[in-house]
């Protein structure tokens, strides 16, 4: 009896697969960290991917073919990400994968995608994902190193060459701290004080006092994510610092100003994407259209503002849809080739131009230097 049921079930499944193939559809796979410690990245990413696939299908799909999305939640666990990547490729037979909210999960998916020849767009920050270039692997977020370079460029424009750093020991803070220390020398920036704090610490005045008492510090940089930077900034105001403070793109959101308080946040500078300042963009700004349309759609559907990270997912889906349309085919290799030929594609994060040597396709212009003024954002360049 049991065997018959199983056979019947298998036949049904087989028929389902056949009829699916007959309808001609684009199978898209995704594995993001919608829950777990990296949920702040994966949750808005998952929402964005689902929303955009719905939008594309509602608009008639790509060349009349609907996208069928298979989305898994890897919970930030690289082992799960590897399992899901295998399942996406072998069972779900997807033609492209989006995902890897964190560098760890990306590395897991990357090997699978590269071996099986499936184009993969990562949503994680590390430069090692695209350096050295892997044939099938692309990524949409700018790297932490670019954020450091952008901040250091702005510092030098103001004759700041000696700085103090206070970094969170969370994944984001630690990674950016390391990248900034690495590029500081090339940029002519000297790091005189290098302090850290735990992501859940309640008071950072001892570390900041040490930085204040270090001779010659002209500015303070705080790479970090979550409540840490908000508490650092409040302590900074409490101690009455008179030198400028720089934050990272990790806190580029209105929530940061809210948590910190308008007065303490005044004058803070940080690199952010166009997505954050949609309402400040000039109408002739190349990113105006894509940013305002995406923000409006996301807000209408989820009743919250899309984060910078949500923008990474938006760009990944948009890039893939564009590549599939240009390839005129759903063969993974054709999609990969079309993706690599992408040139001047405007996303929420920046303008992408991939080449065989560059699978990130962004330059420093993707970041905009912002300053907090009167509880809102002001664009500096």
């Amino acid at each position: 009896m049991k065997t018959t049921t199983r056979t019947a079930f298998a036949v049904l499944l087989g028929m389902g697969a056949l009829s699916g193939a007959a309808q001609a559809e684009i199978r898209l796979g995704a594995s993001v960290s919608a829950t777990g410690p990296a949920a702040f990245l994966g949750d808005p990413e998952a929402k964005t991917i689902e929303m955009m696939v719905e939008e594309i299908n509602a608009g008639g799909g790509i060349d009349g073919e609907e996208i069928v999305l298979t989305l898994y939640d890897d919970g930030g666990d690289p082992n799960k990400a590897r399992t899901f990547a295998t399942r996406l490729i072998e069972d779900d037979e997807v033609v492209a994968i989006i995902g890897g909210s964190t560098t760890g999960t990306t590395i897991s998916i990357l090997d699978m995608a590269e071996d099986e020849g499936i184009p993969f767009i990562s949503l994680a920050g590390a430069i090692s994902i695209v350096d050295p270039v892997r044939e099938y692997v692309f990524k949409t977020p700018h790297t932490d190193r670019m954020a450091c370079e952008k901040i250091f460029t702005d510092m030098k424009a103001q004759d700041i060459t000696k700085i103090g750093m206070i970094s969170g020991t969370d994944g984001f803070g630690a990674s950016m701290q390391a990248e900034c220390k690495e590029v500081a020398g090339d940029q002519g920036i000297e790091i005189l004080a290098d302090e850290t704090y735990g992501p859940q610490d309640a008071d950072m005045t001892p570390q900041l006092t040490r930085i204040r008492d270090t001779e010659g510090v002209q500015a303070v940089l705080n790479p970090g994510f979550g409540q840490g930077p908000a508490i650092v900034t409040r302590n900074y105001a409490q101690l009455g610092f008179e030198i400028p403070m720089y934050q990272s793109h990790g806190v580029a959101s209105n929530a940061f100003i809210e948590l910190t308080g308008k007065d303490a946040a005044e004058g803070i500078r940080l690199p952010g994407t166009a997505l954050l300042i949609g309402d400040l963009l000039a109408e002739d700004d190349p990113q105006y259209k894509v940013v305002t349309e995406y923000t409006a759609a996301y807000q209408a559907k989820y009743n919250e503002e899309p984060s910078t990270f949500a923008g990474y997912a938006h760009d990944a889906v948009a890039l893939l849809a564009d590549a599939i349309a240009r390839a005129g085919s759903t063969e993974p290799d054709a999609i990969r080739d079309a993706l690599e030929e992408t040139s001047g594609f405007v996303g929420t994060t920046g303008t992408y131009s991939f080449t065989p040597e560059d699978h990130l396709g962004l330059d420093l212009s993707a970041f905009r230097m912002l300053e907090i003024a009167d509880g809102g954002w002001k664009q500096l360049d």
């Binding site: 702040f40 704090y197 309640a202 005045t205 001892p206 570390q207 006092t209 409540q227 908000a230």
Partner: protein, 290 residues
């Protein structure tokens, strides 16, 4: 000199946060020998409920009072639904039940509220008070005041009231307590409710400084537990001084040694103290009568 004073202020602020959490452990421990690992979640609930009630338009004091009452209700429910049915189980099993409860409360808070960080406005503004070149925020004084007030309240409760002594008697020997007419079920309910209320009060006081989200409870409970162990589990004076001591240790290490080793140094000192005094600084040596 002003740097030293700044480190002391920082240590006192952080220490008072730890002390408030540590004080919450005392009552349940005294009533049942159970270390309630859901204590951090009560702190989180206090902060979260106040934030959301305040956002909904409720005045801050009313929102805070509601949060404390709601958390106390949660504490009573935890006792009635999870601890009491397993009363004959060994203490270790009960402690594991509280760990399970903490995971459940955290998950529920994530669904009921949200995953974002929130902050309450400071009670007396954000203008720092300057003393000899060092600064302290008025909210820090609220937290320290709260910790001292809860400590005095608990001390009076355990040493001056009949109910407080009944709690101690219940912990000491449940059957003997019942024989002299103590309603031990009621004592357990009371102690869980009070502990949760103290936790929630801590949450209300510290949220303007530490911010709150559904998952802050774990780290707070860990530090509060460490403070309580250092001072002597079950002793309100130990909880208060253990918390302040832990905070000062962290800030002095961060200030004079290196912020990288802040937590490590604090825990090494705790280990060293517990090697010499396994009951903590103010803990009583257990005396077994034969």
């Amino acid at each position: 000199m002003d740097a030293l004073l700044q480190f002391i202020f920082s240590g006192m602020t952080v220490g008072a946060v730890y002390a408030l959490v540590a004080l919450g452990f005392t009552i349940i421990y005294n009533a049942s020998d159970v270390v309630n690992f859901a204590q951090g979640e009560f702190v989180m609930l206090g902060g979260m409920i106040t934030v959301f009630a305040h956002q909904a338009g409720m005045p801050l004091p009313l929102a805070a009072a509601m949060a404390v009452v709601a958390a106390a209700g949660g504490g009573v429910a935890l006792n009635r639904l999870a601890i009491e049915p397993a009363r004959s189980a060994p203490v270790v099993s009960l402690i594991i039940i509280t760990i399970g409860a903490s995971i459940l409360i955290r998950g529920a808070a994530r669904l009921i509220f949200d995953k974002q960080l929130h902050r309450l406005p400071s009670f007396s503004g954000d203008t720092p008070i300057r003393i000899m070149g060092a600064t302290i925020l008025p909210q820090s004084l609220w937290v320290m005041g709260g910790a001292v007030a809860v400590f005095i309240g608990l001390w009076l409760f355990f040493s001056r009231t009949l109910t407080g002594k009944a709690v101690l008697a219940t912990a000491n020997n449940r059957i003997a307590a019942q024989l002299v007419g103590i309603n031990t079920r009621w004592i357990m309910t009371l102690s869980f409710g009070l502990s949760a209320a103290i936790g929630a009060l801590a949450g209300v006081l510290v949220t303007p400084i530490t911010l709150v989200s559904y998952d802050v409870g774990v780290a707070l409970a860990l530090k509060g537990f460490a403070a309580a162990m250092l001072g002597g589990m079950g002793n309100p004076r130990g909880a208060l001084l253990g918390g302040i001591l832990l905070g000062l240790l962290e800030s002095m290490t961060a200030g004079y040694l290196s912020s990288q080793y802040k937590d490590a140094v604090a825990f090494i000192v705790i280990l060293a103290v517990l090697f010499v005094m396994p009951q903590g600084i103010f803990g009583k040596k257990p005396v077994e009568r034969v």
